[in-house]
Amino acid sequence: MLNKEGIAKRIAKEVQDGYYVNLGIGIPTLVANFVREDINVEFQSENGVLGMGPFPFEGEEDADIINAGKQTITTMPGASFFDSATSFGMIRGKHVDLTILGAMEVAENGDIANWKIPGKMVKGMGGAMDLVASAENIIVAMMHTNRAGASKLLKKCSLPLTGVGCVKKIVTNLAVLEVTNEGFLLLERAPGITVAEIKNATEGTLIVPGDVPEMRI
């Protein structure tokens, strides 16, 4: 079974040379730490920066340079700043190659719910609805089950949706899955996890091919 860092490491392997990537808050943010150093990638943050670098050294924080998580950041050579309308132009116009975000639920048709739990304080969707409605290539990073042990890979989402039919790939602590017309196609098992365990943790239709390799991280 993977921990959060393991999920981030596995997703990092999906990041290809020349990709512009938008990382959501939580596990997705960790992905930046594990991208191969021999490829060129630029990170976009929807609050208006392209070419984000690491956190600043202590004492070098600049209140005017933050990411969408409101964290102080730095920029890399070749970076640019822009306004929010332009930023979402990049996203809506499909100029961002890969979006990685967390989810509360994913349905076997690619629907995603990650912004609202009825009866609880709703913080808002931020840029998530724009991202999932627009991105060609969306990877969800999440635990396979919720804290109560219930599956987060469902036939149909029970929570209010963030977007419809948009998720392409899911990386959980148990598996890598692809959303297909027939349901969740099991691509890889986490180290030490059996197909039966994954089946057990998946409420939606799970398609198990003859051979399901173990992930390489």
């Binding site: 943050s45 929807e46 609050n47 208006g48 920066v49 690491p54 956190f55 600043p56 050294f57 202590e58 004492g59 070098e60 924080e61 600049d62 209140a63 005017d64 340079i65 933050i66 990411n67 969408a68 998580g69 409101k70 964290q71 102080t72 950041i73 700043f81 822009f82 306004d83 929010s84 309308a85 930023s87 979402f88 996203i91 809506r92 629907d111 304080m121 709703v122 913080k123 808002g124 969707m125 931020g126 840029g127 998530a128 609805m129 724009d130 409605a133 627009s134 209010p160 949706l161 963030t162 977007g163 419809v164 039919g165």
Partner: protein, 233 residues
Amino acid sequence: MIRKTVSNVQEALKGVEDGMTLMLGGFGLCGIPENAITELVRLGIKDLCCISNNAGVDDFGLGLLLQQRQVQKMISSYVGENDEFERQMLSGELAVELTPQGTLAEKCRAAQAGFPAFYTPAGYGTEVAEGKETREFNGKMYVLEEAFKADYSFVKAWKGDEAGNLIFKGTARNFNPCMCGAAKITVAEVEELVPAGALDPNEIHVPGIFIQRIFQGVDYEKRIEQRTVRKRA
């Protein structure tokens, strides 16, 4: 050159009244119009509808207006950093209209640029699209969203000149440019106000035509919400 300078925040906020709809720039606490917010608190103007991506924190930014119960409605994309906000929302004192962030930005830009409405894919199939027209273009579904209508827009820039031209710094740009000219009156506060001619016409982010009043801001706190750093090697 058409001069837009006013001498201080009091003059800049003339005409703001109870019940008005205000746009406020900023993302989190980054690039917010600190001086305008302070003056709105001092004036005690009530029943405001505030269009702002976020709602500040309890004791800073828009949180200061919420503390004083001056806000009747918030139109935002994310409001998660504010306990007082949560209390007022759950108690029903505060109306909240959550809007996808890109839609929020474009509803401002549409108002600025004279577009009455636009089609966006964001929110299609979700509760955000409920009651709204949806439509297919090239096999994909879109939601019709309308331009905002606001009375005042308060933005904060890094540098500005007497003609109202603005230059922003870093990610403090965010929603500020799209809100310029998106309300009946746009008020810009700047860290540094310079004479006309001091800014390179090629480097201006927002031309002065979108600004009605500009003033030299004071005492910027520029609070950092999440101070994240790394160790030196």
